[in-house]
Subunit: 307 residues, 2 copies
């Protein structure tokens, strides 16, 4: 945000609350409540959303209604103005997502192999082999490749940028269309974010690149600022900041969509989202799911004339 460098004038906010947020909650959220919250977000102007994930319901019971959630949202919002996305961990999930009508999926590989093994019990090669099969068998699916632990790993510590770039290279060569760099444990700092996004964009010119940031150490929006300075225009965020550990105040997970939108709007950057309407979704999350959110806007007093 120097004087010399222009920030983007518009960013795409990809809402991940119904997937990354909900899946971290223990109690099953009844499908109608999920739909109610998703609808409020779409009504506020959210144009892309991870609606759910197609995982084994034994592993994540919260996502057992994945196909039903997609069906209900596609029934209500059939047009092209809204893009539904689902996370899939493997070919089986990708097939189920495809059958449910999903055409854009997030597929996760950790930059750190140790984390990949701990998280999904696969080596890098196994994960990439699965990705290759998904793309071969379901060519209609657009793949956004989430590179987890891109800024640091809970098991190995620092992650080499060459590892991240190697994984991007492999993913793109297999056919992934977008790359999302994920700060899985919220350890990224602004200097690092700017450095990495500048380097990655210079190594892969024209690559659609997004950031998935957490606010675990309070650096979430500072890292957004660094990303904006690096020219990033796609950010993933979660309603209410859902997705961290919901029971420890301050131990935030994903950056809250309302915090992100509030900041960039105040900076004169457009999102297409009506924040006042979006706050109705936040209110529903407070009322229907939990009241202890890591969102800031959910609790901040509003003043007339100040955005």
């Amino acid at each position: 945000m120097s004087d010399e460098k222009k920030l983007p004038t518009f960013i795409e906010v990809v809402e991940v609350g119904p997937r990354d947020g909900f899946q971290n909650l223990q109690s099953f959220i009844p499908t109608p409540i999920k739909i109610k919250i998703i609808r409020k977000m779409i009504m506020s102007g959210i144009k892309a959303m991870e609606l759910t994930s197609f995982v084994h319901p034994g592993a994540i019971p919260q996502m057992a209604d994945a196909a039903e959630v997609v069906r209900l949202i596609h029934r209500d919002y059939p047009d092209k103005g809204f893009r539904s996305i689902a996370l899939v961990p493997n070919l089986f999930g990708a097939k189920k997502a495809h059958a449910a009508g999903i055409r854009e999926v997030s597929y996760v590989i950790s930059a750190s192999e140790k984390h990949n093994l701990a998280n999904i019990n696969r080596t890098h090669e196994q994960s990439l082999a699965d990705l290759r099969t998904i793309i071969a068998e379901l060519p209609e699916l657009e793949i956004r490749l989430d590179i987890a632990t891109a800024f640091g790993c809970p098991f190995q510590g620092p992650v080499e940028l060459d590892m991240v770039k190697g994984m991007i290279d492999r993913g793109l060569s297999l056919g992934a269309k977008k790359i999302i760099l994920c700060d899985t444990i919220g350890v990224a700092n602004p200097t690092q974010v700017l450095q990495i996004v500048v380097d990655v964009q210079s190594s892969f010119p024209g690559l659609p690149l997004g950031l998935h940031l957490h606010d675990t150490r309070g650096m979430g929006l500072a890292n957004v600022l660094a990303g904006l300075e690096g020219g990033i225009t796609t950010f993933e965020s979660s309603v209410g900041g859902l997705g961290g550990c919901p029971f420890a105040p301050g131990a935030a997970g994903n950056i809250a969509t309302e915090d992100l939108v509030n900041m960039v709007h105040a900076m004169g950057i457009k999102t297409g989202i009506d924040l006042e309407k979006y706050m109705q979704a936040v209110q529903s999350v407070k009322e229907e799911i939990q009241t202890n959110l890591s969102s800031h806007m959910a609790y901040a007093k509003q003043y007339e004339g100040i955005s």
Copy 2:
């Protein structure tokens, strides 16, 4: 934080928890507990701290032990390596602070006259007249002038930069030595922060200028980043993020010192503070005062090899 612009390599962290944080807590914190927390912060490398405020004990009973706090800390840390600061609202408080051995005081005037009236029941002219008297009667006191509501006012909304600069000009001409721009209600955004600090520094070359930021809307550290980009090297922050509304999760007040220090250290900027030792003070705040802090670092899991 553009490629073209160098960030500072060192910042001064001014701890305001014992003043701005404690004064927002209803239950009186026994003096020995205050001293214990202050000592831990000094031991971690904090070199400047608002220890207390000299206000009417009827108005803020929490600060009734102001002189005793100063006495005990000055007894233990008499050398020049540590600077004790106190807030004073008027000449009476300034005299008491001076008598207690304080030589640097924070004096607050709101850029918004409406806020000044609501906060301390004085017009701008009355506040400035008091400042003139304090400086005349107590020339030994170094004045840091806190400009409250510099980024927005709860009563009037946006605050004109000319109002802020006018107040700085008046304060300096009366003899104030440092200016702290305060985002009293946490509405500042990074674009605004950069714009204002660049403008103020250009209007007042060489002015010692600091920022007092709140994290109410999650922009606290993003605003720090903007300040760093604008060349600011003095930041005020509070242990545990104390100072907001302590009972609403997320409704953060001051930026937490541990969040600030963690971020700038990760960015390669020095503070002279040993964060691990500082976290012992945070731990004491959790144990002795309250467990529901707006700090992020107070709850974030730590990983080996990642700062």
